[in-house]
């Protein structure tokens, strides 16, 4: 049922217009003799159409239109203003202030019916369009979310690809990614940066794809020459990931290149010192080493978390950024929670 508001101070006009609206069949008239009360109702309730007279004592039709159009959500409701044939100036002003169309007096049932039907159809089309816009926005949001989820899955599987030839497990990259996010959060980085490191950190060792099996999978200590080759996985990872427009891959490239740098400059590949090492590289260094120490490997048993904690504490300022160590240790409860949640073996700890 279409709700049609009629605002007119004349009882005769209200009676006439009411009867004409009822004759339409699918319309419910709502009558207001007081234009201020009519305005108040239309501000709180959304009618399908408003028919308003021009000359009214409390507030004339033009002011009514002007004030109603200023109410949020009332910019588009169709308004028919009733004017005399000789009121051209009034019509122009009403049009400028937001009248949709006019009804001339004396009101004729044919013209009334045609104009009202047209206005209702216009209103219905607008509503349909607005609904469609909302629906489309939701579809776009869903599609974007789906694309994002696919991207994340792809990145995770890419990271796993590097781990496949390495004895480390998939849960390693999940643990170290969460440790990294924890450090980022405790350093006060934005939620966006926290999410970025969570997604990019797993790719830190993807350059290992380019390391020969004989070196990568060697159970014993590497020779000097073998270690030099092993170190190239940092730059190989960077070459693999750099040049993308994706923020995640750009970040991953930086992490791959810098996560073996050491705070005191004794790391590789560039021997960067202190703050010259990208922050994300400094963060991932802590996360990666902690997880490596507390994980079982073919060449070593897993360390206990307490022993690993002590190692990190000693390494602050040397191997590691002391600020990263500090906040990592401050979040120890959460570290343990991550450690337990993503545990993949039950081997005794040293």
């Amino acid at each position: 049922m279409n709700r049609i508001v009629i605002v007119d101070d004349s009882e005769i006009n209200l009676t006439l217009l009411n009867a004409l609206v009822v004759k339409l069949g699918d319309c419910q008239p709502l009558l207001f003799k007081d234009s201020l009360k009519g305005l108040a109702w239309c501000s709180e309730n959304l009618p399908d159409l408003i028919v308003v007279d021009f000359m009214m004592p409390e507030m004339d039709g033009i002011r009514f239109i002007q004030r109603l159009r200023a109410v949020a959500g009332r910019e588009e409701v169709p308004i028919l203003m009733i004017t005399g044939n000789d009121d051209k100036g009034v019509r122009y002003e009403a049009l400028q202030l937001g009248a949709t169309d006019f009804l001339t007096k004396p009101v004729d049932h044919i013209e009334f019916s045609a104009r009202v039907r047209n206005m209702l159809a216009l209103g219905a089309s607008r509503k349909k369009l607005a609904d469609k816009a909302i629906w489309l926005a939701e579809e776009v949001r869903k599609a974007t979310a789906a694309i994002h989820a696919r991207e994340q899955e792809l990145l995770f599987r890419m990271s796993r690809a590097a781990e496949f030839r390495d004895p480390e497990t998939g849960t390693h990259i999940q643990r170290m990614a969460h440790y990294s996010r924890l450090i980022a959060a405790r350093l006060g980085l934005s939620t966006a940066d926290q999410d970025l490191i969570l997604q990019a950190a797993p790719m830190h060792d993807i350059g290992k794809i380019g390391i020969p099996d004989g070196i990568l999978l060697k159970p014993g200590v590497l020779t000097r020459e073998e270690f030099q080759i092993m170190k190239t996985h940092a730059t190989l990872g960077y070459e693999l990931l750099a040049g993308s427009e994706s923020a995640i891959l750009q970040t991953a490239a930086s992490i791959a290149l810098s996560h073996h740098e050491k705070f005191d400059g004794s790391g590789y590949p560039a021997g960067l010192i202190g703050d010259a090492i990208p922050l994300f590289g400094r963060i991932v260094a802590v996360a990666d080493v902690f997880d490596a120490l507390t994980s079982e490997r073919p060449y070593k048993k897993a360390w206990s978390v307490e022993r690993a904690q002590a190692y990190l504490r000693e390494g602050g300022g040397g191997h590691f950024d002391p600020q990263c160590i500090k906040v990592f240790l401050q979040g120890w409860d959460e570290v343990l929670s991550i450690y337990e949640h993503y545990r993949d073996d039950k081997a005794p700890r040293l």
Partner: protein
């Protein structure tokens, strides 16, 4: 019913889709309110209130047009324009003519409703 010489009943009815019941309702309202319109015109003239006179003349103009009383509508239009310009010279005669037109229409409609 003999055709009125004052207003065009057929034309007025046609605008209402031939709804005699609606016409009679509107006619009854006009008859009941006519003295109020006349008093309002008189008061506006007496207080030399051009804005009020314009508003009352405009109201009466539309009502007389509803009943297709063309001569009365034209009187109201002339008074409305005069008042709109802020001129009240000549308004008294015009107002009295208009009041007379309202009363004549009310009388005729009242007779027809009986």
């Amino acid at each position: 019913m003999a055709a009125s010489t004052l207003y065009d009943r057929a034309e007025a009815l046609e605008r209402l889709d031939g709804d005699v019941e609606l016409f009679d309702t509107l006619a009854g309202l006009f008859v009941a309110e006519s003295s109020g319109y006349c008093d309002a015109l008189t008061a506006a003239l007496a207080s030399a209130d051009a804005v009020a006179l314009r508003r009352e003349a405009h109201t009466v103009k539309s009502l007389l047009a509803t009943f297709s009383y063309e001569a009365g509508r034209e009187l109201a239009m002339r008074l409305e324009r005069l008042a709109e310009e802020g001129r009240l010279d000549g308004a008294e005669a015009l107002t009295l003519e208009l009041i007379d037109a309202v009363k004549r229409l009310a009388d005729e409609l009242a007779e027809e409703l009986v």
